[in-house]
């Protein structure tokens, strides 16, 4: 393998100085001259007609600059899923009725945030409460309250812009069904008929919060003279926000600029457009002044997206030796008041399973149901955590029933490198078998499995797979590398830095390709006006797509420089190499040129060509349009990230409290561009997965979130972190930059079943609903599994 000098090294992060000295600016830190602050009035009712809204008192409060309601924003529609068959139904402010507690009803802009808040108290809304429904199975029954009437064509539909000729039409939900998926291949009946053993089990995953440290925020500044809207906001790909802002506000896309800010954590939760972002833009245009909105933590919990509630029934048929021959998965998603990304999550929970086991005959059916609750969106693994908890828990149960070893059964059922999945995706890199082995060995599986029940200790395992980007319209990314006259380069790439380390790893890729030290790469990222097209920062497309574009841009510049240098040195470009800030003749390294000399020559002799490299990449080059989610057909990704996790726990039988002793994660991210960064991603997912398994749930009652703060919504803290081992299960990905692919999302979903299975190994009982709280486990130990 080639010896690299920049990639593969745990170099310090390039955003480090800014972040460690307090200079890094986040949206919440942005202050503009003449700025006003807006607050939103939110519905106290889960389902109610709005009879009237009286804003006159609020408008008269000194310091209030504007008050708007659904009348002002009437007709604006948007949403993440916005297809010809399923038009988007979200709106910035409620119009005729409210559908969940926390839905925005009015907004106030004032000279200071306290005045804006006081003004909210002066708005009088008369509601007529309607019967509400909170349970998806209840909601599907005849006679249940209907949450949506006809959903007409959205104002922000993306399809026409991307050349899809299909006409969109309205959609009227029946029995509150928001969307369905049905994916199948093989012959499920035949599969079960061939099985020696069949089990059916049901598992539940609740809504959990992304709990990014920075609450959602925006600063929007509309310039009435130029018609330009400048925004600073929390995002995960500026093209998405820019697109939605353009469509909802009717401002041409080239007139909207998303400025670079650091983003205080995202985990999927900030990719989509929010009510308050549209409102900020709307108010700024109305006032001709900058408008800032920072949500409270309570708003983040109850009005922004949480993860998606899954109720999963898995039926699996196996041969005596544990070989899976059929799997039938039925998912009911409690979508909430709007569909959010429910349809996508139902599909992904299937597709992320595909690179894991070869299940031979598969049926995956999902229905997403409207209820009068806050709705959901992607969270780190988007559908995989919910599905892996169900599937890998059940594998563990089957092994128990048949007296088999889970690690052996998992290894037996894994896909093989080079496999082509039923949808056509090919596993060109596949480190999962290695990951399973590494994770099992690290936890001392052979010694510890099934042998420590007398000490109430146990070990468990889980696995997962994840896209490296996919074809959400148009899911492409470009990068530019320009050569500077001092021999350094400037890299322009759109991905925003929300903690994942994109700024650093992308700079490393460019530096390596160009033979430069990391500090010679000047980076401009996350600014929609300074960087080229970018859609790669979610669905774990960062490294594979964004990093890929950077690689190709650097490669392009390298070729151009070599060509110029070959003229100067009078040898062929193939005889040259680039290292240590210079281009030299391979056979005679003393014959070299600095980059500055190359640039000068190019400008002097090549019509002023300043040597600019351009690169671009698409997640799946073969597909032009968004593939079908509801049928699961079509190509989705060119590379899957893979992970296995094991955990060891100790249970206090008298209290039901679980102490996680150790978590081991083995991950296949293709190649570790920055090993320290990968290590950070894995530890992060170990701890987040532990929170999912044991602690976290956004609890609602009567449609209201009853733990919308960091006191009542507990996440792991410094003291709770167990011993964590991170193991490198990489398998070189031929299509990735230096072999790299997904790293940031996959492992979380493997950790959850690992812990659940370890608990079973320790005490012999199983809780079917995460989080496995002390109370639930104690009840299970006493043979009465309850909801709590």
């Amino acid at each position: 393998m080639t010896e690299y000098s920049v990639v593969g090294k745990p170099l310090p992060r390039v955003d480090g100085i800014a972040k460690l000295t307090g200079q890094a600016k986040y949206t919440t830190d942005i202050v503009l001259p003449d700025m006003v602050y807006a607050k939103l009035l939110r519905s106290p009712h889960p389902h109610a007609k709005i009879i009237s809204i009286d804003i006159s008192k609020a408008e008269k409060l000194p310091g209030v600059e504007a008050v708007i309601t659904g009348k002002d924003t009437f007709g604006i529609r948007y949403g993440f899923v916005d297809t010809p068959n399923y038009p988007a139904e979200e709106r910035p402010l409620a119009e005729d009725k409210v559908r969940f507690v926390g839905e925005a009803v009015a907004a106030v802009a004032a000279v200071d945030p306290d005045i804006a808040e006081d003004a909210l108290d002066l708005i009088e809304v008369e509601y007529d409460p309607l019967p509400a429904v909170f349970d998806p199975e209840e909601a599907m029954k005849d006679g249940a309250p209907q949450i949506h009437g006809e959903i007409t064509r959205s104002t922000s539909c993306a399809w026409e812009d991307w050349g899809v000729a299909r006409k969109s039409h309205s959609y009227t939900p029946v029995n509150n069904v928001a969307s369905r998926v049905l994916i199948s291949y093989g012959d499920i009946e035949k599969g079960f008929a061939e099985a020696d053993y069949i089990r059916e089990d049901r598992f539940w995953s609740p809504a959990t919060s992304h709990m990014a440290m920075e609450p959602h925020a925006i600063v929007a500044n509309y310039n009435p003279f130029t018609g330009k809207l400048d925004v600073w906001l929390n995002h995960m790909a500026y093209e998405l926000k820019r697109y939605w802002l353009s469509k909802t506000l009717g401002i041409p896309i080239q007139k909207i600029r998303v400025h670079q800010t650091y983003i205080g954590g995202a985990f999927g939760g900030k990719a989509v457009i929010f009510d308050f972002e549209v409102i900020a833009g709307f108010l700024s245009r109305k006032l001709g002044r900058p408008v800032k909105i920072v949500l409270t933590r309570e708003e983040v919990f109850s009005s922004c997206r949480n993860s998606i509630r899954f109720d999963t029934t898995v039926k699996t048929g196996v041969k005596k030796d544990g070989t899976i021959v059929a799997q039938d998965v039925k998912v009911i998603v409690d979508a909430g008041a709007y569909k959010g990304s429910a349809a996508v999550a139902m599909f992904l929970s299937h597709q992320f399973s595909e690179p894991c086991y070869n299940r031979r005959n598969v049926r995956h059916e999902g229905v997403a149901v409207y209820t009068n609750k806050n709705f959901g969106f992607a969270k780190r693994g988007h559908g995989a955590p919910q599905n892996r908890f169900a599937v890998d828990s059940q594998i563990d149960m089957i092994c128990e029933d048949l007296g088999l070893d889970p690690v052996e059964v998992i290894l037996k059922n894994l896909r093989k490198k080079g496999d082509v999945l039923p949808n056509g995706d090919k596993l060109e890199s596949y480190g999962l078998p290695k990951c399973v082995q590494l994770a099992a060995d690290a936890i001392d599986w052979k010694q510890k499995r099934g042998t420590q029940r007398d000490k109430n200790r146990g070990v468990g395992i889980g696995i997962n797979g994840m896209f490296s980007g996919s074809g959400y319209w148009p899911f492409a990314c470009a990068a530019i590398v320009r050569l500077n006259h001092d021999g350094t380069v400037t890299l322009m790439e759109g991905d925003c830095e929300f903690g994942q380390g994109a700024d650093t790893t992308y700079s490393q890729i460019a530096a390596e390709e160009l033979g430069l030290p990391l500090e010679d790469v000047n980076l401009i990222s996350g600014d929609s006006e300074l960087c080229p097209m970018n859609y790669s920062n979610f669905l774990s497309g960062g490294m594979f797509v964004g990093g890929g574009a950077v690689y190709y841009a650097a490669y392009d510049l390298r070729q151009k420089m070599l060509k110029v240098a070959s003229e100067l040195l009078k040898v062929g470009p193939e005889d040259l190499d680039m290292k240590n800030r210079s281009v030299f003749i391979k056979a005679r390294p003393e014959k070299s040129l600095t980059f500055g000399e190359i640039l000068r020559y190019s400008i002097q002799k090549h019509l002023g060509d300043p040597l600019i490299g351009i690169g671009y990449k698409k997640a799946v080059p073969e597909i032009e349009f968004y593939p079908s989610l509801s049928k699961g057909t079509g190509r989705f990704t060119d590379a899957y990230g893979l992970a296995a996790a094991t955990a060891e726990v100790e249970v206090d039988r008298e209290t039901g409290r679980v102490k996680v002793l150790k978590i081991c994660i083995a991950d296949d991210c293709g190649y570790e561009i920055n090993p320290a960064s990968i290590y950070g991603q894995m530890v992060s997912q170990a701890v987040m997965g532990m929170g999912d398994a044991l602690l976290e749930e956004v609890i609602d009652e009567g449609g209201r979130v009853i733990n919308p703060n960091l006191v009542d919504y507990e996440i792991p803290r410094a003291f709770d972190v167990p011993e964590i081992m991170v193991l490198n299960g990489c398998d070189y990905e031929p299509k990735g930059p230096f072999g790299g692919k997904e790293a940031g999302e996959c492992a979380r979903a493997a950790v959850i079943p690992a812990i659940a299975n370890a608990i079973y190994d320790a005490v012999g009982v199983r809780v079917h609903r995460v989080p496995i709280t002390p109370e639930k486990l104690l009840n299970a130990l006493k043979g009465k599994e309850g909801r709590r």
């Binding site: 209290t655 006191v711 709280t773 002390p774 109370e775």
Partner: protein
């Protein structure tokens, strides 16, 4: 947050005179570690905030064998945690303080402020009650000293009249052959308490017979309370596993927990039983060597 007049004070007298002037319209601010959250959420909006944190005469820790420990109400949690005399003589307090909220809160928050906010899941109250703490309350009308046990009347409510200020916490000198422990149960280490208990066991000189037992519980009723039936059961008896189990059972029956987002009432009661059992055992072991 709504506007208020800010009135910093330097002496107890000054503070008493201001609070007797404004009564319900005024509010005493010490460390403010829970008060400022309430102000920010506009759940309370006093017109006058009387800041007593600058009263240096309320910030002290003294000890002598005869009178025991005296702590000014403005002693910070951190000062209690780090006090050598408390570590030596009332170790349970310094250990307990280590788990009060976070270092940041312990640095600024005061013991008096903590007791006056009367949060039913507050850490210090159970241990202080187990140590037979008394508190001194003053107002421009005079002063009084009452057992801490009687101070709390309901969720977030105390006996304190609107014009009164808590000034001192008093603990008697440690009694021989006594072991005191504090134990709590939460889902995560620094999580919200589902149950907590502080237990004081005093043994006869045979080191096996219980002379006196205090079983104080919190988070399982509107106020921290001394489970007297359980304590009385133990007094005069030789301590063994059966007695401990019986006492724990009795103590858990004395609870009156409310279900909430963290736990059901039944679960709280069960955990109370387990926790009390464990804590008595530990206190017994400590008492044997004390």
């Amino acid at each position: 947050m709504r506007d208020f007049e800010y009135l910093p004070t330097k002496t107890i007298k000054e503070a008493c005179s201001l609070i007797s002037q404004y009564k319900e319209e005024g509010k005493i601010l010490a460390g403010g570690q829970s008060l400022i959250t309430l102000l920010r959420q506009k759940l309370i909006s006093p017109s006058y905030l009387i800041d007593i944190k600058g009263i240096s005469e309320l910030n002290y820790i003294t000890f002598d064998e005869k009178n025991g420990l005296r702590m000014g109400a403005l002693t910070t949690h951190r000062a209690i945690e780090k006090s050598p005399i408390i570590q030596k003589k009332y170790n349970v307090l310094s250990e307990m303080e280590k788990s009060v909220a976070s270092v940041q809160t312990r640095n600024w928050g005061t013991i008096g402020g903590n007791l006056c906010s009367a949060d039913p899941i507050g850490d210090p109250a159970p241990s202080l009650i187990a140590l037979s703490a008394k508190i001194k309350i003053v107002s421009s009308r005079g002063g009084k000293t009452i057992p801490l046990d009687e101070f709390f009347t309901d969720y977030f409510t105390t006996l304190l009249e609107p014009d009164e200020i808590l000034t001192e916490i008093q603990l008697p000198s440690p009694v021989a052959h006594t072991g005191v422990v504090y134990m709590k149960f939460s889902t995560i280490e620094a999580g919200i308490k589902i149950v907590s208990t502080s237990i004081s066991i005093t043994l006869e000189s045979d080191r096996r017979t219980c002379k006196d037992a205090k079983i104080v519980m919190s988070a399982v009723a509107p106020v921290p309370f001394n489970a007297k039936k359980a304590g009385n059961l133990m007094a005069g008896k030789k301590i063994n596993d059966d007695l401990i189990a019986e006492a724990a059972q009795l103590a858990s029956e004395e609870t009156n927990p409310t279900p909430d987002v963290h736990a059901s009432a039944e679960f709280r009661r069960e955990i109370a039983n387990v926790l009390v059992k464990r804590a008595i055992k530990q206190a017994f072991e400590k008492a044997k060597i004390a």
